[in-house]
């Protein structure tokens, strides 16, 4: 059994990925179909409106699918179904017009995405760390580069005993993991993967995500308190200090793009950057570029990643706030951490780096967007779609890993110093400068266009350098890794 699995491991892995993507794609596609049917039927529809809405009947949908009603925008317009198929599909599509169905689907999607991403990211982090350290990392479980390592770890963690420490405050100890995990999950409700891929398009989406980052800290605090362990306590206090302090520069850095675009709705912010690479907000003027950097650093501190990983500094605090946790409760903290890492990366992408748009102007693909199914799919890959946001998010997660495996840890007083004495004044300064810039320099003026061009050039050089280094590293991957490792370990 094992050997068979090992042989077909890579296909299983790839099919799994494809299936996950498919599961994620399908609801959006189907919902879109239903929505276009309603549009075609002349009913108005808007996502977050309350009030009376005409509903489609199964019969409407069947007629639509059979082609008895001509639709203009529906993808189904290009396909003709037979009667029985149409009936079957009609029953599948009918519930999708109700909000509750979509919400359930969204929740399932968010939970699924977070868990899968955490498992992927843990495996990937181990691979990244290994590569940086001339090792190979997980190589055995599952076959190809140990892709099933996280699955195996998850199984192991599920089987582990759920240990309660003598003298721990049991209800709080239990609750802490959830209090840490739920906000990390909750922030994905307002996080758009693309303009249409969002569970709830809140008009205050940005602050909601910000709030969720803040509430998650309580879990860590409570975990440290309830563990009845002095190291956990130290970790919790460090976390509280760090988070409360870094929320302020984080907030200031967020204000800079908000001031430029004038909205808190993330989908609007994203769609304002659809005009190609040079319209990405970070490249609009130098202060936005600086704000992007400040945001990333502050977000790093909020995600308690190295060099700001003081709450779990293992050389000082054993394991910090989760010293006493075991099994699945322990895993929940990591799920939360990786979810927050991705959210921070995705937020950076949405606010500064073109959201779900590719560097190509979205206008070029406008005709594909309304074309047949394959053109729509291609549009999602080439111009704008959730794949781009997930890709950018993963890139920023990678940067966080890269920093973690390179830099030493900062001391607590230095963390505070960096926040209060450096980050905060800098963020305020950037905010002020951006205010004056937006006020005095119109984006169509010579100065505005020159600043845009320079920043775009800087960004382009950075992107090209990263791509170049990656290709160089990949081509020479055998040479860069220590010879011992290549010779002695399996899978080389």
């Amino acid at each position: 059994m094992g050997s068979i699995l090992r042989k077909v491991a890579l296909p299983i892995f790839l099919i799994g990925v494809a299936a996950i993507m498919g599961i994620a794609w399908a609801p959006a596609l189907l919902c879109g179909t239903v929505d276009s049917m309603r549009d075609d039927l002349g009913t108005w529809y808007k996502w977050d409106l309350r009030g009376e809405r005409p509903t489609l009947t199964v019969g409407n949908i069947r007629q639509y699918l059979e082609g008895s009603i001509e639709g203009q925008f529906a993808p189904a317009a290009h396909v003709r179904f037979g009667h029985s198929t149409a009936v079957a599909f009609a029953y599948v599509l009918w519930p999708l017009q109700f909000r509750i169905t979509r919400d359930v689907l969204a929740v399932v999607g968010v939970v699924g995405f977070v868990s899968l991403f955490a498992m992927f990211a843990i495996w990937w982090e181990r691979k990244v760390a290994a590569r940086m350290q001339s090792r190979l990392g997980p190589m055995r479980v599952g076959g190809w580069h140990g892709w099933a390592q996280s699955l195996a770890d998850g199984l192991k963690l599920l089987q582990k005993e759920d240990i309660f420490i003598e003298g721990a405050d049991r209800p709080l100890f239990r609750m802490a993991a959830y209090v840490a995990f739920v906000p990390a999950l909750g922030l994905f409700i307002a996080l758009p993967f693309s303009a249409a891929w969002i569970a709830r398009d809140l008009d205050v989406g940005l602050i909601f995500i910000f709030a969720m980052f803040g509430v998650g800290v309580l879990g860590v605090l409570i975990a440290g308190w309830a563990s009845n362990n002095k190291w956990s306590m130290f970790g919790a206090m460090r976390e509280a200090c760090q988070m409360i302090s870094y929320e302020i520069p984080l907030g200031f850095a967020l204000l800079v793009p908000i001031m430029t675009v004038g909205t808190l709705r993330l989908t609007t912010i994203g769609d304002l950057q659809s005009g190609g690479f040079q319209t990405w907000l970070a490249f609009r003027n130098p202060f936005l570029l600086a704000a992007a950097l400040l945001f990333f650093i502050a977000a790093l501190a909020s995600c308690k990643r190295a060099p700001f990983d003081l709450p779990e500094a293992e050389s000082e605090l054993v394991a910090g706030f989760h010293t006493e946790y075991s099994g699945f409760r322990w895993a929940l903290f990591f799920f939360a951490e990786y979810a927050e890492m991705f959210a921070a990366g995705a937020l950076a992408a949405i606010l500064f780096f073109g959201a779900w748009h590719s560097p190509l102007p979205a206008a070029w693909g406008e005709s594909w967007r309304h074309g047949p199914l394959w053109q729509q799919a291609l549009h999602g890959v080439v111009f704008s779609g959730p794949l781009w946001l997930i890709g950018k998010g993963i890139f920023f997660v990678y940067v966080q890993m890269w920093l973690r495996w390179t830099l030493p840890r900062i001391r607590l007083d230095q963390v505070m110093y960096a926040c209060v004495q450096v980050m905060l004044p800098l963020a305020m300064l950037v905010l002020l400068a951006n205010t004056f810039w937006e006020w005095l320099v119109p984006s169509r003026s010579v100065l505005g266009m020159a600043a845009n061009a320079v920043c775009t050039a800087v960004g382009a050089v950075a992107v090209l350098a990263i791509i170049g280094i990656s290709i160089y590293g990949f081509v020479n991957r055998r040479r860069l890794v220590g010879t011992l490792v290549v010779k002695h370990l399996p899978g080389a």
């Binding site: 054993v318 840890r409 001391r411 607590l412 011992l484």
Partner: protein
């Protein structure tokens, strides 16, 4: 806990904290750091009396790895005791073998043949590099940088491969023994060693770029745990810890033993920051200086090894040692420059094959006793930085 006044509190000598700080002081907390703690390098246990993150007092408790090495030394012959010395400072087995063998040879008046001397120096210096690599990597870990650890171990593997080819063991060698070395160097050893030296020397600069001159690393270690030269002498610090305090003292040069007077090498010491590429934050005797002395010592070891390879003589590698070696009455105390400091052996003979007493002066034991003196009014995160820079191996502290 107020974070802004940490520095003022650190500067204030204990007991004279400003009035406001005394008023705001909360309960003191006793925390056990170790014996199972990631950064206590084995089974050191520190009792920390803390006020928030501020350490008021750190009391080391040792003895968790006590294996009665000295009692064993009184019950076996010196040749049988050599393997036991491997297990003292388990990272520097060769140096320990060497020190004990020298002491017994001095007591019995044995002469080591020429080639034996060179083999000993080669092995000791290689082991010094191997041990400093571990120290470099672990210190990175203590500060929170993971990657240097793996790099240090990667290079150490090459050295252990050489040791394995020579004596079959990778950690507890029992190779340098009374009268010389127990085996000759294997075929091709010299070429492999020469290759390794060429490979390794540029790596040191790479590590300096990666860790030593990293801004965060400097901020974490410079001006932390400053030990003055006078304190270092009073507390019996030796080795890189003493040299980090600016005392240019190395037994290999100051009280020459073996054949170290035939080689040219420098004694790296801690120097004040700002000159010669040393970061301006650095103070003589701080953690960074102690750490950096080790990095420079690796380069000097490479230099010694190069000269060794050039001068390496042929011939016998071990003197004729009687099967039952009788230790004459009297005692001898001999110190060698071990990796962590001066490793001393007192051997008392009484005209029997078994010594009356074997006393081991472990450099880690003597270096560790300064911890309570230095870990005062520092932050919790500084404790690993200080203990790590003193670089103790508990096998030698507890013996």
């Amino acid at each position: 806990m107020s974070d802004t006044d940490i520095h003022s509190q650190r500067e204030a000598p204990p007991g004279t904290a400003p009035a406001a700080a005394r008023e705001l002081r909360t309960e003191e907390m006793l925390v056990n750091m170790g014996p199972q703690h990631p950064s206590t390098h084995g089974v050191l246990r520190l009792m920390l009396r803390t006020d928030g993150e501020l350490i008021l007092e750190a009391i080391p408790h040792i003895g968790y790895l006590h294996r009665c090495a000295e009692k064993i030394g009184e019950n076996v012959t010196p040749v049988q005791f050599v393997p036991m010395t491997d297990r003292l400072d388990y990272l520097t087995g060769m140096n320990n073998n060497h020190g004990f063998s020298l002491a017994v040879e001095k007591l019995c008046g044995l002469e080591v043949p020429e080639r034996g001397h060179y083999i000993r120096v080669i092995m000791c210096e290689l082991n010094r590099i191997a041990s400093h690599l571990v120290s470099f990597g672990c210190y990175g870990m203590d500060i929170g940088a993971f990657t240097p650890f793996l790099y240090g171990f990667r290079e150490r593997e090459y050295i252990l491969d050489l040791f394995e080819a020579t004596c079959g063991a990778r950690l507890t060698y029992n190779y340098l023994t009374i009268g010389g070395a127990s085996l000759d160097l294997p075929e091709g050893f010299v070429e492999r060693l020469a290759w390794f030296l060429d490979y390794f020397e540029p790596k040191i600069d790479e590590y300096n770029n990666l860790l030593s001159f990293n801004y965060i690393f400097i901020k974490r270690t410079a001006n932390v745990g400053v030990i003055s030269a006078a304190d270092a002498l009073a507390y019996g610090l030796t080795g890189p810890c003493l040299r980090g305090s600016g005392v240019k003292w190395d037994l290999r040069r100051c009280v020459p033993y073996e054949i170290y007077d035939r080689f040219e090498f420098d004694i790296p010491v801690g120097v004040p920051g700002g000159n010669a590429g040393i970061p301006p934050e650095v103070v003589v005797g701080d953690s960074w200086s102690r750490y950096y002395v080790r990095m420079l010592e690796m380069k000097q070891s490479v230099r010694i090894l190069r000269q060794c390879l050039k001068q390496l003589a042929g011939g016998e590698f071990r003197a004729k040692v009687p099967r039952t070696l009788k230790l004459p009455a009297g005692e001898v105390y001999l110190e060698v420059e071990g990796v962590r400091g001066q490793l001393g052996f007192l051997v008392v003979g009484e005209n029997k094959p078994i010594p009356r007493r074997v006393k081991i002066r472990g450099p880690s034991f003597c270096n560790l006793c300064i911890v309570p003196h230095v870990c005062r009014q520092v932050l919790l995160a500084d404790v690993p930085a200080i203990v790590g820079s003193i670089d103790v191996v508990m096998g030698e502290v507890d013996r």
